[in-house]
């Protein structure tokens, strides 16, 4: 079965520190990958897409095809980055498959 693994359920960082969220996936047939974010009491929204390099809030993601990883990074975390983050690569059907999510808590 195709899988998306986000190994960290919870990531706690200090404001101003770098943050990295890990994502590994098993199906590598598509060049496009996504990260989604869900802030408290808001709908799930697109954070970043790989091919177009579209991103909000200063996040970047590095695609490593050899390791089939697509880790999300930000050099200086802000309190407003506290949210739930989902890695979402496409599966062999062409639809997105979502990881279990990583809860990020940024403390002042």
């Amino acid at each position: 079965a195709q899988r998306v693994t986000q190994p960290e359920k919870l990531l706690s960082v200090f404001k101003g520190a770098p943050v990295e969220l890990k994502c590994n996936y098993s199906y590598s047939g598509s060049p496009e990958l996504f990260w989604y974010v869900q802030y408290s009491r808001q709908r799930l929204q697109l954070l970043l897409r790989h091919i177009s390099r579209e991103s909000i809030k200063g996040f970047t993601a590095d695609l490593n095809k050899g390791e089939t990883s697509f880790h999300l990074k930000k050099p200086f975390a802000q309190e407003e980055d506290s949210a739930m983050y989902y890695c979402a690569p496409p599966d062999s059907w062409g639809k997105l498959q979502f990881g279990a999510g990583t809860q990020v808590v940024v403390t002042p």
């Binding site: 799930l44 697109l46 059907w93 062409g94 639809k95 498959q97 979502f98 279990a100 999510g101």
Partner: protein, 114 residues
């Protein structure tokens, strides 16, 4: 541009009843997806419709079903409701088949089973 809209916001049912959840996609989007979002479990994929056809189905029992209408809106039907069905149901839409299409989400319908 209007986003994905879901109705109702909250639905209260009792065990054994049927629930119908509705979703209107973004204008121009032909694909609609349904998910369960349970606390601690992330998004569990339920169903995917495109151009009126069921494209893919997640690992859920047959009492979870749905359809897509000619205007691309969609319904999710849950029969013989069980207590464990109490959770948030999300709908998303995209421009159609193709792995380069991001999904856009609605606010969800919270289903509560008494």
């Amino acid at each position: 541009e209007a986003g994905v809209t879901q109705s109702p916001t909250h639905l209260i049912k009792t065990r054994g009843q049927q629930a119908t959840l509705r979703c209107s996609p973004i204008s121009g989007h032909t694909s609609v997806y349904w998910y369960q979002q349970a606390l601690g479990l992330g998004l569990q994929f339920l169903l995917w419709y495109d151009e009126g056809e069921e494209r893919n189905r997640g690992n859920f029992p047959p009492r979870f079903s749905g359809r897509q209408f000619p205007n691309y809106s969609s319904e999710l039907n849950v029969n013989a409701l069980e207590l464990e069905d109490s959770t948030l149901y999300l709908c998303a839409s995209s421009l159609g088949v193709g792995s380069n299409q991001p999904q856009h989400f609605g606010d969800g319908t919270r289903l509560s089973i008494l």
